[in-house]
């Protein structure tokens, strides 16, 4: 037994947590890290589709009629692929028009008609209030069950003798309070309700987890897995009928139920709210397309096992309603903790639906039912000058309270008598009536206002007569309408032959209402003309993807208005500060200076109308503009001409954009090749500057010594010898430098051709070592070789490889330890390659320059600081030679002790190919 107060505390605590989450969501959004940019949050928020009906009702439905409950979830899943066509279009339309509700969408499409908007809003309120009331019912009966540990939710207990004991009323008021906190934080209805969506996404996770936990518990802890439950059901002939799909209407009924849930998923106000209004990116649909159906699949896994388990456990007790099995089972098993968790899951499912639906309805009530009749009143506007936002929010708050109290009323008098599912489906049929007007509106230009109004009125009348009236009557109000199970004594009502169709009531009513609704829509649309305003919207709606970028030019407007009028109008609604911001934004966007005395053009009027539409709904905004500004009538032909022009502008703009992109690309390429040329030029400059510097050094010595010898006849013989010797050495150095430069030039221009022959690297190493032997013997250097005896042949130019070896060895001699120099040359075979290493025990080469020492005249970052002397062109020529032989050369050193120069050459195995190549090379040289 859990105390009432514990449950109340938990419920209030949960709502507080939800509010904190919402606050967190808004905090993130303010910091620019909006959670709504996350496609997973979007997909989860769509799961507001799963209400207490899913949570409690699916099990009830499955327990009574088997697999039929699945239609509600298969519908939206089948629909998923066509979200792309329908949702993407509606999202785009709603974004450019700043549309926030389904009523606004329909009224905008048909010329921003106030009457149509009001009609849709009224139908939504009538259709959805029963649906909200069943959420209240579910929350309140689950509350009573948990707090009393009572298996039987006593329906009649809700109409308490004393209003203070009426928990449902408290819950309703509490929810109204929270919804007002969530939903009326911003005057502009188009501003994303970050906090609310975050909370809804969280609730979607909670209800899924709770349902899976109880399902798992029942299936695997209470029973012995799926097969255990199913075999018990199969053994019972009473229950086994539930496992087949044999409802009265058969497959055609299934079809209509699927259609019904498809349309509900699109047109339910709360679905429109999360999927269209709160959408931040059309791309989010890509993820939602598979994530949302997956969610539906997962949440339905345990529905049948729980339903069967309930049937088995409560076989004898007829007063345990199947709608309450999910909760009744843990209570029956005295699992208090689990029961509370399940209650919270159901609470989440119920509250998420109530919050979103109520907000959506409150926007419709204020924007489509109240403002159109208020804003056209000039007295009123003057009265609220600048204070309008408070008025607007108060109206929304009052609407929220009104919707919830109406739902409570409906609950108290009617819905407690019916199962959750039956009432939910009645709401579904109501919103399905929007299908012809919306689908026709976005795909068919001829659909018009008269058609939409007549279709909707007909559809709703049929809905009311066939579905609502009988429930009211069953509740004991009007026995006049129904006699002998027949409406007006001639329309049969009984399931299986409802309304003359071999189906149950719901699909039959859907069939008739939609048939008449859409026939009237099409027939009247074709029969009567559209007004020019309607034609304008029809063109833009159907071809939205062509127009969305040039939106402000697509609304054709003619009249006389001054910028000052527009400014005053805006100030009334959004205040001075915001008005300035809006006008400045406009000036920037269109690069146009606005002066008070200027005539306002249609672009300005349209963008202001669009801003107002976000606040008070598009029909109210239209009405406001038309009553404040002087407008002229426009012919349909004019509208079409201007739209055609806009389309051409769009096409031309697109072409211009493509052309300028192509130009940009060319410029970019030019720039990059220019940059490359500049780089090459710079390298060349540097090369020349360095080479001349290098050449000046020997020339300086030669000149100095020549002059000394020339000017000093008394010079000693010994000095004379030394100076002349230096002159000769420096001349040789000069010569070497020149041939190296020429070599390098040849490599760079690719003119170098060598005669290749079949060689043993060891022979070349020994030859190189022999020629430096004299140098080594003079100093204190120890030169050793470590040559692999078995080594492959290479196909190479002998002189060039010896040049490389000599260069590396003489570098090693220069840089090895001056006191006890050690040089080791080794060769080895590593797979297909010959590897030669020249090691010395000098100071080594630091990591930073190990690559660049192979560059031509590598220059350290500091231009005046020389790198270790001697390395000028030698290593870069070595690199070119090795690369010519398809090998690699590099240096390894820790920068402290010794360096190791390594080069590799590919071995050649086939002599005949080699000879052939030699031949070809010689050919090339000759030619």
């Amino acid at each position: 037994m859990i105390s009432n107060w514990v449950i109340i505390l938990i419920s209030v605590g949960y709502l507080t947590l939800l509010f904190m989450l919402a606050y967190f969501g808004e905090y993130r959004a303010k910091k620019g890290k909006s959670l709504l940019k996350n496609p997973y949050i979007y997909a989860l928020s769509l799961a507001v589709y799963c209400t207490a009906w899913t949570y409690y009702g699916s099990v009830g439905n499955a327990a009574e009629s088997g697999l039929n409950f699945l239609a509600t979830y298969i519908g939206p899943t089948l629909l998923a692929p066509i979200w792309w066509f329908i949702f993407k279009k509606i999202i785009r339309i709603s974004k450019v028009y700043r549309i926030t509700t389904i009523a606004d969408l329909i009224s905008t499409r048909y010329g921003k008609s106030v009457s149509l908007g009001s009609l849709v809003a009224i139908f939504c309120v009538l259709g959805i209030i029963p649906y909200i009331s069943i959420q209240l019912k579910a929350i309140s009966s689950s509350f009573q069950m948990v707090s009393n540990s009572n298996l039987v939710s006593d329906a009649n207990a809700s109409i308490s003798n004393h209003i203070f004991n009426d928990y449902t009323l408290y819950i309703t008021i509490g929810l109204a309070f929270f919804t007002i906190l969530f939903g009326t934080r911003n005057i502009d209805a188009t501003v994303k309700q970050e906090g609310m969506v975050t909370a809804i996404a969280f609730e979607s996770i909670l209800k899924l987890v709770a349902f899976l936990v109880i399902g798992f518990f029942i299936t695997f802890v209470v029973f012995d897995g799926f097969s255990d439950i199913f075999s018990r059901v199969n053994d019972d002939p009473q229950l086994s009928r539930l496992t087949t799909l044999d409802s009265i209407g058969g497959y055609s009924e299934w079809f209509w139920l699927n259609m019904l849930s498809m349309m509900a998923f699109m047109f339910l106000p709360r679905q429109f709210h999360v999927s269209i209004k709160e959408n931040t990116s059309e791309k989010h649909l890509d993820k939602a397309i598979w994530l949302f159906p997956l969610y539906l699949l997962v949440i339905n896994i345990f529905v049948i096992p729980i339903a069967f388990a309930g049937k088995i456990m409560f076989a004898g007790e007829t007063n345990v309603l199947s709608d309450t099995f999910v909760l009744a089972i843990p209570i029956f098993l005295s699992q208090d903790f689990l029961a509370i968790f399940v209650y919270l899951g159901g609470f989440a499912a119920g509250t998420s639906m109530v919050i979103v639906s109520t907000i959506a309805l409150s926007i419709m009530i204020s924007n489509n039912l109240i403002f159109p009749y208020v804003v056209s009143n000039k007295q009123f506007i003057r009265y609220f000058k600048g204070n309008f936002s408070r008025f607007l929010l108060n109206i929304r708050r009052a609407s929220i309270l009104l919707v919830l109290l109406l739902s409570y009323g409906y609950y108290s008098f009617i819905s407690f008598r019916f199962s959750i599912v039956s009432i939910g489906l009645i709401s579904f049929v109501a919103v399905a009536q929007f299908a012809p007007a919306v689908i026709g509106g976005i795909f068919w230009k001829e659909g018009n206002k008269s058609g939409a109004i007549s279709g909707l009125i007909a559809g709703f009348t049929i809905w009311f007569l066939l579905l609502v009236l009988p429930t009211i009557d069953q509740a004991g109000f009007i026995s006049f309408f129904i006699q002998n199970d027949k409406l007006f004594n001639f329309i049969p009502l009984a399931d299986g032959q409802a309304f003359g169709l071999p189906m149950n009531k719901i699909p039959a009513a859907l069939f008739w209402s939609l048939l008449i609704n859409s026939s009237l829509y099409v027939f009247i649309s074709l029969r009567y003309m559209q007004s020019s305003k309607e034609r304008n919207q029809a063109e833009v709606f159907v071809d939205i993807f062509k127009y969305s970028k040039e939106f402000e030019s697509t609304m054709v407007w003619k009249g006389t208005a001054y910028v000052q009028d527009i400014e005053e109008l805006l100030i009334h609604f959004v205040g001075d500060k915001k008005t300035k911001e809006i006008l400045r934004e406009y000036e920037v966007k269109y690069n146009q200076k606005l002066k008070k005395e200027d005539r306002a053009d249609s672009k300005l009027v349209n963008s202001v109308e669009r801003i107002l539409a976000g606040l008070i709904g598009s029909s109210s905004a239209r009405l406001l503009i038309s009553t404040t500004l002087k407008e002229e009538e426009i012919s349909t032909k004019e509208v079409l001409d201007i739209l055609k022009e806009t389309q051409q502008i769009v096409v031309v703009n697109k072409q211009l954009k493509e052309k300028s992109q192509a130009l940009e690309e060319v410029t970019r390429q030019l720039f990059s090749s220019n940059e490359k040329l500049r780089q090459m030029d710079h390298t060349k400059d540097e090369f020349i500057s360095t080479i001349t510097h290098e050449m000046r050094t020997p020339i300086t010595s030669i000149r100095a010594f020549s002059e000394i010898l020339h000017d000093n006849s008394d010079i000693s013989l010994e000095d004379k010898q030394q100076f002349l010797n230096t002159i000769i050495k420096e001349t040789e150095r000069m010569d070497r430098l020149i041939s190296q430069v020429l070599d390098l030039e040849k490599f760079n221009t690719g003119k170098q051709e060598f005669h290749l022959e079949y060689l043993q690297i060891n022979d070349l190493i020994l030859e190189a070592v022999r020629s430096v032997q004299t140098l080594v013997e003079q100093g204190r250097i120890q030169l050793t070789t470590q040559l692999a005896p078995q080594i492959g042949f290479i196909n190479a130019n002998k002189d060039r490889l010896i040049q490389v070896l000599l260069n590396l060895i003489s570098n090693a001699i220069k840089f090895c330890d001056p006191m006890a120099g050690k040089i080791e040359i080794s060769s080895k075979q590593v797979s297909e390659n010959i590897v030669v290493e020249v090691n010395d025990n000098g100071k080594g080469i630091v990591k930073e320059i190990q690559q660049s020492i192979f560059d031509v005249f590598y220059q350290a970052p500091d231009q005046t600081r020389k790198k270790p002397k001697g390395s000028g062109l030698g290593l870069s020529i070595c690199k070119k030679i090795i690369e010519y032989h398809q090998g690699e050369i590099w240096v390894e050193s820790d920068g402290k002790q010794g360096s190791k120069f390594i080069f590799t050459l590919p071995t050649s195995t086939n002599e005949s190919i080699l000879e052939n190549e030699n031949y070809l090379n010689e050919e090339n040289i000759n030619s």
Binding site: T700, N712, Q722, T864, K866
Partner: protein, 120 residues
């Protein structure tokens, strides 16, 4: 007897200048890089430097700057003798406080004359 420090990393160039200066009766010190040059300057306080620019580790500009910013050594005359012939290098040398900037390859007679001139 004036003391001259010759700084260059090319042994042959050192040899030729040493010969020329000895003949004029100067006392000669030799350094093969900037670091060595600074050590000798501190120890021997020469009257003038004939200084190359491109050297490993410490370059000629740095040597010049060290001498000219140090009160005790600021009086020492500095002659750059370098293959760096760009106008910007000359400017840089002179602004570092050098007294003369001569280019390689040089005329021996001119070098001798300029060195003499600097002490008058």
């Amino acid at each position: 007897m004036k003391k001259i420090l010759i700084v260059d990393d090319e042994p042959n160039i050192l040899l030729s200048i040493e010969f020329l200066m000895k003949k004029e009766g100067y006392r000669i010190f030799i350094a093969r890089n900037g670091k060595e040059a600074i050590d000798i300057v501190k120890k021997e306080m020469p009257d003038a430097l004939i200084l190359d620019i491109m050297m490993p580790e410490v370059d000629g500009f740095e040597v010049c700057e060290f001498i000219k910013t140090n009160e005790e050594t600021a009086h020492i005359k500095i002659i750059f003798l370098t293959a760096k012939a760009k106008e910007s290098d000359i400017q840089k040398g002179l602004s570092a406080g050098a007294d003369l900037y001569l280019k390689k390859p040089f005329s021996t007679k001119e070098l001798v004359k300029k060195v003499k001139g600097i002490f008058n």
